[in-house]
Symmetry: C2
Subunit: 122 residues, 2 copies
DNA sequence: ACCTATTTGTCCGTATGTATG
DNA sequence: CCATACATACGGACAAATAGG
């Protein structure tokens, strides 16, 4: 996967990296189950610090796109396609209703996270 | 707000800080609109680095609990109660349907985030 | 069972940049 | 202009988990 960084753009490096990898995963150019290069290796090849790559990887983990573990590296998470499609329909409808409330997206996201956790427990 | 750090617990310092502040916000001991101490000041009073506090603050921002901006500091986010209640109902129903799909919560969260962003653009 | 190399996790210090008041 | 405060990025150090020999 090719990643090109634009040094002077206002988008931070870690975000540029995260977006590039995310796009690679979503458009299929990086296969499910594939192992991403180590943070050190990718950092060296991009001319950035290990920390910067790690920050990008950790964001992708928070987004559920990769499985990131010590000693193991970053592995692309496999998604179940039919369930994914159904989930998308349900979520799109909810988002449509939510948009009318005028709440800031971060708030909606925080609420969703809390409801999701709550459902997980019970 | 009193924060006590336990150095040897397996919970990272930034997470301990985030949880403490989050609890303070949710149980009302920190009022809406109140300004949290600067990362530098809190770091010095806790004996940790500015970065560690900033990381905690940024997590709270991602969770929608505070408004964190350059030059301004961290201000506790006030939530509009009626809209919040409606959003909670909508989300609970969606989560109920989503639970039947058996997708991992991180995947559901990632999907929700992507649908939310998509709705934001259009 | 042991050792070693790899890889991420956390934390610190420092430097520079940018937005706010 | 200036002080404050967050944002990003780097490098270094050590810890902890994993994998392979």
């Amino acid at each position: 996967m090719l990643i090109r960084l634009t040094p002077n753009e206002n988008m931070p490096l870690h975000e540029q990296i995260a977006h590039a990898v995310r796009d690679g995963i979503l458009n299929g150019s990086v296969a499910d189950g594939e192992r991403l290069p180590s943070a050190k290796a990718l950092g060296e090849s991009l001319g950035v610090s290990l920390h910067t790559v790690l920050r990008a990887y950790q964001a992708l983990r928070d987004a559920g796109l990769i499985d990131l573990r010590r000693g193991r590296g970053a592995v692309v998470t496999a998604l179940s396609e039919p369930s994914r499609a159904k989930a998308t329909r349900i979520l799109d409808e909810a988002v449509c209703h939510l948009n009318e409330l005028g709440l800031p997206p971060e708030t909606v996201l925080a609420l969703f996270r809390s409801r999701l956790e709550r459902a997980q427990i019970s």
